[in-house]
Symmetry: C2
């Protein structure tokens, strides 16, 4: 794939939906020799394409767009309503949606960016082949060997392997609630590499040049970093979220479904602590808690915001993205 | 430390209590240029010293002995009894013990091996300094930055950093039941390296030469591998356990307290599946289920044995230990 040759720095700036990923971040990453991703999640297809245009207008040739693959509605309506009431969210807002998956794929087919990556699922083979015929390379995010086999079988060009250490939502889509879906990145590169020869982009907790080199030594072609860029001036991360990442009050992360109904790694704050038993109901819980989270952000209450962070978050700096790329690619 | 210079292969064969670690495995590892550890856990001090003598008799100069640090008795007696009854174990056997910690330390002080490592806790500074005065270097197993600080403050010479991917018992001893004690190895090397300059030996899911190089690239001085050696002819692993590691019926691992009352990574079998809610009560549950596990092993029932395994278990081979060392140190 062309993008592999162009990926001289071996650094991919992860798509971070909900604010952090901006055209400015993608542009800055590109100018620094890294590969940036726009995050289509939670946006309309039109907003997504406007961001694609903004990136193209800056003469960035190589970049990607990440799209969420919809799941199925929560079948445990009672659990869902009870949980939403317990956190003070309006159950009326606990609705399912598909994040306009078809609208986004249709728009990307009509005017394809160089790369399209998928998260939360694997599109049907026909979608992947149509995107490739239209000129895009297709990546699928996986968290286990089983998911890697699904993605390889569907025709993915490459895989993003997301380790357990990664910040924000886990991409898990096969046996999500079963035992054993908790691969650490180094193991994941190994076990996925033993079932497929597809190129692997490694994600999860990578914050230093040594860790980038480690991912490559283990068999990945590149490292995808998100948290490392969360505090950059080019990132649209909420200022309270940026501040929390450097706040000594927050010392650790955990996987939680409290905010969204889908496991995601966040700083442990009061909301996470208070709600360890959220049911599996994405995006219903995410939609229902949106107003709560926005209100908390507006009043500066970081104890009730979703403070996504990977395990190495304490190393995130507020330097410009180009300098972060430079740190991540420094020679030992 | 002298052992750092001698560790030319950068491979440490992990101590694996309960059978797998034998003097033969330590001797074979040493002859292949790796560093082996005897596992004192569950043994008497006299048995431990007999193994030390066996290794010395083979002219092995550099090796270590791993000792369990005792915790505190379970304070939830009712939960414990209820759990033991539910699995068919005799609650009378659910007793606490200290694995003869003082007896073992006393014996090692009197006749010290080159290295002593500790797991499940950090000994008092006086114990560490006494061992060092007697001529041993002291390692402490840690799973978080907080534990690394405790061990560094107590005077450890080096740390074994155990990632979430590792097979068998987690060494976690600070805030074991709190959120966020689930560091993947690559992240763990980073976060521990940012709070201490002590040499780090990386453990957890390392099965290939690429993963060894990755651990070193990330900042470790060596890789400690356990599961990679579990099937070796020199390992005392139960034959049914060896067979299960290669059995397609078993596809994944999980952390479980079902067998021992302390989180440990095992192949997901019926016993793990049936008992997801074991209380934190080590070694009480371990002692009480010993008869059940032995009976299951005797009748070849791998669904009720504790099949410890790291996340990369499927790559474990039945080659001699020297050949495994050779595979782990192969150039890319």
């Amino acid at each position: 794939m062309a993008f592999l040759d162009l990926l001289s720095s071996r650094i991919v700036v992860a798509p971070m939906a909900g604010g952090p990923s901006t055209p400015e971040l993608v542009i800055a990453a590109s100018r620094a020799g890294a590969l940036g991703f726009l995050a289509a999640g939670y946006k309309t297809a039109a907003s997504m394409m406007a961001e694609v245009e903004a990136v193209r207008a800056a003469a960035v040739e190589m970049f990607g767009v990440n799209v969420f693959v919809p799941g199925v509605p929560c079948s445990e309506a009672e659990d869902l309503v009870q949980y939403l009431k317990s956190v003070g969210a309006d159950p009326e807002n606990g609705t399912w949606d598909d994040d306009d998956f078809v609208g986004k794929v249709t728009a990307l087919l009509a005017d394809p960016p160089p790369l399209v990556s998928f998260t939360f699922g694997c599109p049907e083979a026909a979608v992947i082949s149509a995107l490739r015929d239209a000129g895009a390379s297709v990546l699928v995010t996986v968290t286990s060997p089983a998911e890697a086999l699904v993605a390889a079988h569907a025709g993915a060009d490459a895989l993003c392997v997301q380790g357990f250490e990664a910040g924000a939502h886990r991409g898990t889509f096969v046996n999500a609630d079963a035992f054993g879906q908790d691969y650490g990145l180094l193991s994941l590169i190994g076990v996925v590499g033993s079932v497929t020869a597809l190129p692997l982009i490694a994600a999860g907790g990578i914050m230093t040049a040594g860790q980038v080199q480690a991912a490559v030594a283990a068999g990945a072609i590149a490292a995808q970093c998100g948290t490392a860029f969360l505090r950059c001036p080019e990132s649209g991360t909420h200022p309270r979220h940026k501040a929390a990442l450097a706040d000594p009050r927050y010392t650790t992360t955990t996987l939680t479904r409290a905010f969204s109904g889908r496991p995601a790694r966040a700083l442990v704050n009061q909301f996470v602590f208070d709600h360890p038993d959220a049911p599996a109901a994405y995006p219903e819980i995410n939609n229902a808690t949106r107003a709560l989270r926005a209100a908390a952000a507006a009043r500066g209450d970081s104890e009730r915001m979703s403070l996504w962070a990977g395990q190495g978050f304490r190393s995130a700096t507020d330097l410009p993205a180009a300098e972060v790329v430079s740190l991540l690619t420094a020679r030992a």
